[in-house]
């Protein structure tokens, strides 16, 4: 295997063995603490434009299978690992981790002290980097900086796709949805129409949905500012659930603000406290931005969930309208499914509101 390097804009250089294919992309370097679920993670569209570091060193042990992709793409711009497993072992596996990276043209490094890298990321908060064969910081200038791209536009569907089913009709606003969100809805018998992120209120209304789900997705939610007013209209008209980026968009559309976290929440072990019961749930998370608690209009919204560790907002609920949103991923995959009740709550709201749209306030 060839030597490769992760070159950071802050000057640090990490050496490893090169796997996959170089793509010349400069992206934000982030880390995920999950010990399982690498297949789901690298296919989660929310990682688009990012170089992902796996804290857990042994990656690829059980290979990749035909079931667990979270989207049709391998969204990450690069992968940094400690100890790639070259010969996987699992009855479902159809290919190896390395093989996948090669096929989709994403570069990776193995043999890296990922723990040291995580500490560097934590020190700098946000840091960009590139996987390259040239161990010079200057090489970044030749790279293609994709960290500020409008990735939602890339990963979202281009036209609506409908999944027929018996139950209520849900429009899934696609900012880069994870397949498991769709599955969770289908599991609940919903008919689901996945629509492009830029669909207007009128376009959504035309589909006559009984509820709308705003999906997760990559990047800074403020990049979607042009659509905030449409999003507001949609949420005021249909029972709405927001997940991750979708949650941020609902908050922003209703006047709150977001900010970037120092180094994000990415992993499957984030404790979230449900304020009504005091119960703590383990959640799967993947976000770099967060809704600013003080910016929430408490006349309209209440905070439902808080992060136990850093007390950031993890979920809000409208005081009168059936709007709820969560920062974490109730659809799991990877990570715990302790909060899958969020989908049931949403569908309860959908059915109790009788499938009617609301008169505008």
């Amino acid at each position: 295997m060839k030597q490769g390097y992760l070159v950071l804009e802050t000057g640090e250089i990490f050496e490893g063995k090169l796997i996959g294919e170089l793509n010349n992309m400069v992206g934000e370097v982030v880390f995920n603490t999950s010990m399982t679920g690498y297949q789901e993670i690298i296919t989660d569209p929310s990682y688009a434009g990012q170089i992902l570091t796996f804290c857990y060193p042994l990656i690829g042990n059980y290979g990749l299978n035909d079931l667990d992709d979270e989207s049709f793409q391998t969204a990450v711009s690069g992968v940094i690992t400690g100890d790639i497993c070259e010969e996987h072992s699992h009855f479902q596996a159809t290919k190896g981790f390395q093989e996948r990276l090669e096929q989709v043209g994403v570069p990776g490094l193995t043999g890296v002290d990922t723990r040291a890298l995580v500490k560097v990321i934590r020190k700098h908060h946000t840091v960009k980097g590139m996987i390259t064969t040239n161990p010079e910081v200057a090489s970044l200038q030749d790279g293609d900086d994709v960290s500020q791209n409008f990735w939602v536009d890339t990963v979202s569907v281009k036209k609506p796709v409908t999944y027929e089913n018996e139950g209520p009709h849900i429009v899934l606003m696609d900012y880069g949805y994870k397949k498991s969100i769709l599955h969770a809805l289908l599991q609940e018998n919903c008919k689901v129409t996945v629509v492009p992120y830029h669909f207007s209120y009128e376009q959504v209304k035309e589909l006559q949905p009984e509820g709308v789900l705003l999906s997760n997705g990559p990047g800074d939610p403020m990049k979607l500012q042009p659509w905030f007013s449409e999003i507001k209209k949609i949420t005021e008209s249909f029972p709405t659930l927001g997940i991750c980026l979708g949650h941020q968009l609902i908050a922003l559309a209703h006047g709150a603000t977001t900010k970037k976290l120092a180094f994000g929440h990415r992993g499957g072990n984030h404790p979230v406290k449900e304020l009504l019961t005091g119960k703590v749930q383990m959640t799967s998370q993947n976000h770099g931005y967060v809704v600013v608690e003080d910016s929430i209009n408490y006349n309209e919204f209440q905070v439902l969930f808080l992060n136990v560790n850093d007390k950031t907002v993890e979920g809000i609920k409208h005081n009168s309208l059936p709007i709820q949103s969560v920062q974490f991923h109730p659809e799991a995959h990877p990570g715990p499914s302790d909060t899958e009740f969020i989908f049931q709550q949403f569908l309860h709201q959908v059915t109790t509101s009788g499938g009617r749209t609301y008169a505008k306030a």
Binding site: F31, T33, S34, M35, T36, G37, Q39, E40, C55, Y56, P57, L58, N61, Y62, N65, L67, D68, G82, D83, C85, E87, H88, S89, H90, F91, Q92, G111, D113, T114, R115, A116, V118, K119, R122, G267, G268, N269, H270, P271, K273, T277, G278, K279, V280, Q281, M282, V308, N309, A332, H333, P334, G335, P336, S337, D338
Partner: protein, 1086 residues
């Protein structure tokens, strides 16, 4: 919610003596629990009769009862102490069973004691097979087809229904004792009968076997508010079929996809919620290798061996957090002490891999049945961390302190292909080495999978190491490619192994690392994969990353080397010593650095040392820490023989060894030098000689005169030590020792054997003065290993003049050498002459007991003298033998006989016990009765069901005469005597009537099956497996749980109790005992 109100005093039940399946992990858990309660301002009352534990220190609990762990005693304690609550889920199976019993007998209700944490109802739902099964069916969780069987016939009928293979699991037994697999009717009969016998409620579960599936465990926490978290999951390399305590275990799971991980996680949460557990719970699963189908195998609604492992593997202190939950806290209210700024309501993320290897006693019991199944056989374990499986496995292997320190075991190359395949097929302690050997011989992965059913992932990793070693071996040391050497170190192949491969000294290997700048880095164990800052100094090393650990500056640093895995002969007592040494170092203002590799212990709790290195105790690993931390000196006297064995190599590397010098240690360990020292000091020793060549042995023995005692020069716990009565036995011994092939055995020491009284002292010395807190007298005559003999203090058969001689000899040796720190001296007194048997230049097994019963902080003083203090300064001027206390302490050994098939538990010079109990009393009888748990079984009049009690006798010819008094005493007390032919004939001659039994296995078994005697007196012919029938009788006694005695001496206290007034035993705290100055003050504290 904050803690419950009205909890001012809490009773904690410990787990008692160490037996296989229940070991030091409960000292770790119990100590954490007591401290977690104390910091809440709660008064802690502790009951535990294991004196070697940290938890029974007066600094850990407010009131320490070293008293028998039975309901009667605990009720008395409850009535005295009136605790507000009790926690029963911290003392292993023993604690759990007692808790259930206390509840069922209404004792908790009677005294209004609230059971904290998990309720009895929940415990029973988890423990009682039928209740558990019903609950699982109710919540829809899969369990293997099974039936509760309470009699033989219904077992046979059930197995006809479901077919073989099946597994038999007895209810309420330690470490799955008495269970096993059956593939046919014959095996089924044997295991089922054993299981029914061993289960205290005569109940077993017979279930369809899922042997070969993956075995995965989850450690789950839950609080009163129903918040649940997974602390850690673990995967066994050995598939279902080998007890998890005997399996090679990794954390986290390696071969499960996220979907599978979450399926089992969800199931775990469902189960812990259904059981309504508050605190910790362990759930074991079997997962199919070709589908996502799974079964729940077992649930332990308490802290366990696995929870100790999970705590050390992740840094999350399960027992501590479980205790806080038990007193009402919610998980999100409890700080994660590792980070100091996040909470206990999360799931640890780790960024390394953990490997646990079990430590088996088969190096001592080479005749034991090595096969591994559902009955646990390991006595201890080691844990290692690295950033790859290969690295962690190699580190774990060199932590084992066996004849192997890598995947290479000397005996493997000599195996035929058939033998090797057999070793792959049938799980034993040797299987890992056989796998490595198989790869070396060119077996393919597929071949090994088909024989072992071990997952491909693990096998590939093992093969990686073997391949790397093979490549290394194809080069000379000088010409080995640097890249290859670096790869070897990334896999953490040990310097010692490389030295073996290249045939160059380890020192030279280390020099090369320096010149190539090949260095290990240290990483933090932080529960969170570096996501948050961590404050706890808990480290491991890796060759796969940078050093992130800054060594501290300022204070001078002292390294305490721990004692490694628990094995027979080196148990928890050395962990007690290591912990106290670390605390003593801290007390003098030094920084205490602790190194150890045993995940079960208190010494590897991150809160003990200033800095904890969880590392192998090999020279390379110690040197790396010594250099990194720039330690001032190393304390080796507290880690048992493990640490002492390192002394030479460390001194050779230029490390400062504190206390007694290396020269002195050598002088004591070299028999020749030792005897000339004793001669010089005019101290009698037993005639003996050193043998360097096998053929010298028989002539030497003949010259000394039989019987002789033979042993290897470097031994732990009397390993390979035998008394031989004739040439034939000597030859047999020789064959055995040659087969073991351990170089450290030679030279052999041969001594004349004198059947005198044994006694021992632990000496603290600063080179000028000595302190001896007390003398332990052994009940059994010389020839029984001190670890296996009953010992009493203060001594009752040692005259003042002999005592004076003992101390005088101690002084002479200590001052002459000099000894700085501790030593233990074993004496034999024969015909009024005191002989010195051996001197161990280190702390010993008896130190924790002596410290506790006298109140002398022995380890602290011994540490402080090694750091330069004078003994007089420490003791306030007192030196020599300290005054004797006004109460009696009796230490009794505890054996794990029922766990080790094929091992003859006859008392002899080789140690066999795994643990010990202490009985304290104001009279010798009371102390004996408590230590040997004689209460209720002594008097014939108390025998149940009105039947006369029976004693079964089978006495070797040489001891028949001697047996007469003992047997007479039993007959007089109303015991019916049953005897084997010869013994019966002899008794008849002396007018003792007995029922005669032929020495035939079938007849004996028939007899025992119908009715078991109340005790067995069996004095065997000396020598190993010399008398097969005798061994069979002892096996029967083990199987039917009948107390058996192989020495008259051990039986004496029983006989003495016949004539003593039957006073009621009274529990007292350790503090109360110590306050007794005169026996007549006893009344004052009752």
């Amino acid at each position: 919610m904050p803690k419950h109100n009205n909890l001012n005093k809490i009773l904690v039940i410990g787990s008692g003596p160490i037996v296989i399946g229940q070991a030091a992990e409960f000292d770790y858990a119990g100590t954490q629990a007591c401290l977690a309660l104390k910091e809440e301002g709660i008064e802690v009352v502790l009951v535990n009769n294991n004196p070697a534990t940290i938890m029974t220190d007066q600094s850990v609990a407010d009131k320490v009862y070293i008293e028998p762990l039975n309901v009667e005693t605990i009720e008395k304690i409850i009535s005295r102490e009136k605790p507000d609550g009790m926690i029963g889920t911290l003392g292993g199976q023993t604690g759990l069973n007692l808790t259930v019993e206390l509840y069922e007998k209404g004792i908790l209700d009677k005294y209004d004691v609230k059971l904290l944490g998990t309720s009895v109802e929940s415990i029973q739902k988890g423990e009682d097979r039928e209740k558990f099964r019903n609950l699982m069916i109710e919540i829809g969780e899969p369990i293997p087809e099974s039936a509760i069987i309470e009699d033989f016939q219904s077992g046979v009928e059930f197995v006809k229904e479901i077919g073989y293979p099946v597994i038999i699991r007895p209810a309420y037994t330690l470490g799955g004792a008495g269970g096993g697999f059956a593939n046919n009717d014959e095996e089924f009969e044997a295991v089922l009968k054993q299981g029914l016998t061993l289960s205290p409620i005569h109940q077993v579960l017979v279930e369809k076997s899922i042997k070969g599936w993956k075995e995965v465990e989850y450690e789950v926490m839950r609080d009163e508010n129903d918040t649940c978290t997974i602390v850690c999951n673990m995967e066994n390399m050995d598939p279902v079929g080998v007890h998890t305590g005997d399996s090679i275990v990794v954390a986290p799971s390696q071969t499960l996809s996220d979907v599978q991980y979450q399926i089992l996680r969800n199931s775990s949460l469902k189960v812990i919620r259904a059981l309504n557990v508050v605190g910790g719970c362990n759930i074991q699963f079997a997962l199919d290798t070709t589908s996502n189908q799974y079964y729940i195998i077992e649930v332990n609604p308490r802290v366990s061996r696995s929870s100790a492992l999970a705590s050390k593997a992740t840094g999350y202190p399960i027992a501590r957090i479980a205790t806080k939950c038990a007193i009402g806290y919610h998980l999100d209210e409890i700080l994660n002490p590792i980070t100091g700024n996040t909470y206990a309501s999360f799931e640890p993320a780790i960024d390394y891999i953990v490997v646990k290897l079990p430590r088996f006693p088969f190096d001592k019991f080479s005749e034991g049945d090595r096969s591994l199944g559902t009955q646990m056989k390991a006595t201890g374990e080691v844990m290692a961390m690295d950033r790859s499986f290969e690295g962690a496995l190699n580190k774990a292997l060199r932590s084992m302190e066996m004849n192997a320190h890598s995947l290479y075991l000397k005996s493997m190359p000599g195996k035929t292909k058939e033998e090797l395949v057999e070793l792959l097929k049938k799980p034993t302690d040797l299987r890992l080495f056989a796998i490595a050997e198989a790869f070396k011989r060119g077996f393919t992965i597929e071949e090994v999978i088909s024989q072992t059913e071990i997952d491909r992932w693990f096998l590939i990793k093992v093969k990686n190491i073997v391949d790397c070693e093979q490549k290394l071996a194809s080069h000379s040391w000088e010409e080995a490619p640097v890249d290859l050497l670096k790869t070897a170190k990334r896999m953490n192949i040990g310097d010692r192994r490389l030295s073996e491969i290249f045939n160059v000294p380890e020192k030279e290997i280390r020099l090369k690392w320096k010149s190539l700048n090949v260095k290990r880095g240290y990483k933090l164990v932080d529960t969170c994969a570096a996501e948050f800052d961590a404050v706890t100094p808990y480290f491991y090393s890796t060759y796969q990353g940078a050093d992130e650990v800054e060594s501290s500056h300022g204070k001078k640093k002292i390294l305490v080397v721990g004692s490694g895995p628990i094995r027979i002969g080196q148990g928890i007592e050395f962990d007690y010593c290591s912990v106290h040494a670390a605390l003593a170092v801290k007390k003098l203002g030094f920084e205490a650095i602790v190194m150890n590799n045993n995940p079960e212990t208190v010494s590897t709790d991150y809160s003990i040392a200033d800095r904890l290195y969880f590392e192998p105790l090999a020279v390379e690993d110690i040197m790396a820490v010594v250099e990194k931390e720039q330690v001032q000196g190393v304390l080796l006297q507290f880690g048992g023989q493990t640490a002492i064995n390192l002394a030479n190599a460390l001194e050779d590397e230029g490390v400062t060894i504190l206390g007694t010098s290396m020269k002195v240690i050598d002088q004591l360990e070299d028999r020749h030098e030792f005897y000339s020292l004793l001669n010089e000091l005019d101290i009698p020793h037993i005639a003996g000689t050193t043998i360097n060549e096998p053929e010298e042995l028989v002539p030497a023995a003949e010259k000394l005169g039989y019987p002789v005692l033979i042993r290897p020069s470097f031994v732990i716990g009397g390993q390979s030590m035998f008394i031989c009565y004739n040439n034939k036995e000597v030859e047999k011994y020789l064959t055995r020792i040659m087969e073991d092939g351990n170089d450290r055995c030679w030279p052999l020491l041969v001594d004349q054997y004198l059947p005198g009284m044994e006694c021992e002292i632990d000496v603290i010395s600063d080179g000028e003065n000595i302190v001896v807190p007390g003398i332990f007298e052994h009940l059994e005559k010389a020839g029984v290993h001190s670890g296996d003999s009953v010992a009493l203090f203060p001594p009752v058969n040692i005259s003042d003049s002999i005592k004076k001689t003992l101390i005088e000899y101690g002084e002479k040796i200590a001052n002459h050498l000099p000894i700085i720190g501790m030593m233990n001296i074993q004496f034999v007194v024969h015909n009024e002459v005191v002989y010195v048997l051996e001197v161990n230049p280190r702390s010993s097994r008896t130190v924790p007991i002596m410290s506790k019963v006298t109140g002398v902080p022995m380890i602290e003083w011994a540490t402080h003298v090694q750091l330069g203090k004078s003994l007089k300064e420490l003791s306030g001027g007192s030196v020599g033998l300290f005054p004797e206390p006004a109460y009696y302490s009796v230490k009794a050994p505890i054996f794990s006989a029922s766990k080790l098939k094929g091992v003859d538990h006859v008392l002899g010079p080789e140690m066999k016990s795994t643990g010990e109990t202490l009985g304290l009393g104001v009279t010798l009888e009371e102390a004996f009765s408590k230590a040997l748990q004689l209460s209720g079984k002594v008097s014939a009049k108390e025998s149940a069901a009105g039947e006369e009690p029976t004693i079964f006798c089978s006495i070797a010819n040489r001891a028949k005469e001697e047996s007469l008094d003992s047997i007479k005493a039993f007959a007089k007390e109303g015991y019916k005597v049953i005897a084997t032919e010869g013994t019966a004939a002899f008794l008849a001659k002396h007018n003792i009537s007995s029922e005669t039994l032929a020495k035939e296995k079938v007849l004996l078994h028939e007899f025992w099956k119908n009715k078991q005697p109340d005790l067995v007196l069996n004095i065997p012919n000396e020598g190993r497996d010399g008398e097969k029938i005798g061994f069979y009788i002892r096996e029967l006694a083990v199987r039917y749980q009948v107390p058996y005695y192989t020495s008259f001496d051990t039986l004496k206290p029983w006989i003495n109790l016949f004539s003593s007034e039957n006073e009621e035993e009274k529990p007292r705290t350790l503090g109360e005992y110590r306050q007794l100055t005169k026996l007549n003050e006893v009344g004052a504290c009752q």
